[in-house]
């Protein structure tokens, strides 16, 4: 997959997200903020550097490629 800087390339599937907070805490570009129930919100999509770390570290398969395979 080609890396696009400045565009958050994922969707977060709510059904699968357990609100663990790993994506929020460990995104190097601080793309996410936690909502009132600790759910991740993509509030800074343009800061995304395309490192894919949130995708790899989400333990729940909730962060998925926008174009589903």
């Amino acid at each position: 997959m080609e890396k696009k800087k400045g565009k958050f390339p994922f969707i977060i599937e709510e059904r699968l997200c357990k609100k663990c907070g790993i994506c929020v805490s460990h995104c190097p570009a601080k793309v996410f903020t936690a909502g009132p129930g600790n759910e991740p919100r993509v509030t800074n999509p343009r800061k995304c550097t395309g490192c894919n770390l949130c995708f790899f570290r989400c333990p729940d398969f909730a962060i998925q490629l926008e174009v589903s395979p």
């Binding site: 357990k18 663990c20 907070g21 805490s25 460990h26 894919n52 989400c58 333990p59 729940d60 395979p69």
Partner: protein, 269 residues
């Protein structure tokens, strides 16, 4: 690291969400397996995920290819039989620290010694989480668990070094925080002919993290980042300093003939 888009083919999405706790590292390791399989483009019918008992033992439910739950510690004994009768099958054993270090320790050593053509992914979360957080052989010294309230009095077993010593062709260890290393190690292990072993130190916020005041999923990830060192850096530390860190990295990569190849050659003589 790029994402092989077909990783989803190896996951049984209808079975998700999985039963693992929020912030548990099992899912990160399982995703690493799916990513490596997609990258290597291994067909589903050529694959088997063998599991043991404990939290990691549920992994078989979440893959879209063959899987089975072995009896506790004996998974590698079943895998030995499968490897001999179905040599074309790629066998991945997804085991916990109990299955590898405790009840299954002997099977692990001898599977490595025979150099069976199997990839073992050891999910080392430093405790028996499914039964309430008792200490395991891999639990670090002084750790608090439900059976060591005042700190574990025993030294930890280093399963990766044991397996390397026993004769495995590929041995590496890392954590669920270091995902590019993790995904790469799993891929290299799958490409190895003969016995390959990846120790994945994994977060258990529910027991190990909570008992030892490390914290939740994100805090445990931070702990792995700070607590582990690459092997070369770790080796330079004094014995005392070493107590504060855990090493990660590749231990062994070699090309000894695997069991089945040697066996077939002998039979022809």
């Amino acid at each position: 690291m790029d994402i092989p888009v077909r990783y989803g083919d190896y996951i049984d999405w209808d079975q998700l969400p999985h039963l693992w706790c929020p912030g548990c590292g099992n899912g990160i390791a399982l995703k690493g397996v799916a990513l490596a399989l997609a990258e290597l483009n291994i067909p589903l019918h050529k694959l088997l995920l063998a599991t043991g008992i404990g939290c990691s033992g549920r992994a078989g439910n979440y893959v879209s290819f063959h899987s089975f739950d072995g009896t506790h510690g004996r998974t590698l004994a079943f895998c030995t039989g499968i490897n001999v009768t179905q040599p074309d099958l790629k066998i991945i054993a997804f085991l916990g620290d109990g299955d590898c270090g405790a009840i299954g320790g002997n099977h692990l050593l001898h599977a490595a010694r025979r150099n069976l053509n199997i990839t073992v992914i050891e999910i080392n979360n430093f405790n028996y989480a499914m039964t309430g957080g008792q200490f395991s052989p891999t639990t670090p010294l002084s750790s608090i668990t439900s059976t060591s309230r005042k700190g574990k009095a025993e030294y930890a077993m280093d399963t990766a070094s044991l397996v390397a010593e026993a004769g495995a062709n590929y041995v590496a260890s890392t954590t669920v925080y270091h995902t590019s290393q993790l995904n790469n190690f799993i891929k290299e292990a799958l490409l190895t002919r003969g016995f390959s072993f990846v120790e994945v130190m994994s977060s258990c916020p529910t027991y190990y993290g909570r008992y030892n005041h490390i914290g939740d999923g994100p805090e445990m990830m931070k702990w792995f980042k700070e607590k582990t060192l690459p092997r070369d850096k770790y080796e330079k530390l004094s014995l005392e300093e070493k107590q504060n860190y855990i090493e990660r990295g590749k231990l062994v990569q070699r090309n000894r003939e695997d069991f089945l190849t040697t066996y077939k050659k002998r039979r022809k003589k």
